[in-house]
Symmetry: C2
Subunit: 226 residues, 2 copies
Amino acid sequence: MISTKKTDLLKRTDIFASLDSKELEGLAHLAVERRFAPDEFIFWEGQPAHWFYIVQEGQVKVSKYSPSGREFIVAFFTPGEMFGEVAVFQGKPYPASACAVGETRVVGIRRDDFLSFLATHPSVSLKIIHVLGERLRSAHTRLRDLAAERAEGRLANILLMLASKLGPTLPFTRQELADMTGLTPETTIRVMSRFRDRKIVRSGRGKTTILDEAALRRIGEGLPLN
Amino acid sequence: MISTKKTDLLKRTDIFASLDSKELEGLAHLAVERRFAPDEFIFWEGQPAHWFYIVQEGQVKVSKYSPSGREFIVAFFTPGEMFGEVAVFQGKPYPASACAVGETRVVGIRRDDFLSFLATHPSVSLKIIHVLGERLRSAHTRLRDLAAERAEGRLANILLMLASKLGPTLPFTRQELADMTGLTPETTIRVMSRFRDRKIVRSGRGKTTILDEAALRRIGEGLPLN
DNA sequence: CGCCTATTTGAAAACCGTCAAAGTATGTGG
DNA sequence: CCACATACTTTGACGGTTTTCAAATAGGCG
């Protein structure tokens, strides 16, 4: 075993989990570990995409910035998830920036290595299609949300989406919630305060706990805050 | 040749274009032609997804509806493009509804047939990854747009996106533009009127012609309507 | 010509963003 | 252990944008 830790990580990903240990070994040889300090960027939107990554430890935030400099958070990724893969497949620049949240380790795989690996492992392609499909579905749901719901509904839906992935206690600041919903921090705070007064959430500094998921679901469906 | 028309269509799609004529023949056997009248639905959000489709003639509008009944248009598809594929891969219900715009013909392929075809044609998987990646990229760009831009910017960006696909003359009503941007028809009309006064677009009933693409691009970047 | 639908316009109200200022947790260095 | 600096959070007032509601106009098709 040359790199137990790397094969262990690969084994925990959706797309590589079904490979046998020999194949995993081969991949692990191609994978390079990298560490990032909090708030350090892994890549920037517009850079040429030679690598794609898998989160090993910590969290990665993928965002797009508007010309005015405002941030919009596209997704958070946790250990075992890949990111930067869309650009790699297309040979185009990264469509968004990736930034480490807290101390973070990732493994990177070179575009060329990965494409040749794919050519000989068709089953992995199917897994990737599955993952991309899931992300597309989520993106479309969020699109409908941003287009149709107002502040309360948007926040409710983002909280639900995050909770379904991370559990009922969410490690985000108001600012980050604002950047995910396209609201300002002030509006986010006001809505969250209403939620708190209604005992729908409990909140502290950089942390939110969901108490009444059913209520959030009603609000997310466009029903009034009753 | 059993079905020249169907193989011709398949030949024009991104994902099947590189197959040889024997493979195309095989696929064409699996493909079923269907016709739809204007405003007839091909499938509804939530239905089990046994088929995916390719547009042969006409246009298909894919939308999601908010609980209040408001429509949000996720995408328009033109001949040669596929839709409904995400649900098929995942064995989950369709995540959106598809509706014929004008007299429309499509070909449908059964989920099971397609999955077994894929298993024996890995190169098609790669094409699909490519298409899904492109759609994901577009969805994320639109997300940032809805979150960060106001009415003028949103409309400008949607017009640009449509023009890059359909050319400078766009066959959409104000209502449809509103459903793509998440604005109300009234706001859409007011903004479009400003655009018309500035000679940025020319517009008629159910039709819009872009005159000054550069201006739209400036507005879409968040710059004022100068 | 008449109907249906798309477009247009107006006025009022709701919502959210902006700006400004103050309060409060967390961590750091002395 | 305390003082202080640094975020994050909170609150208020104001203004602008967009929605809402209502009504009128105009284009296309039978």
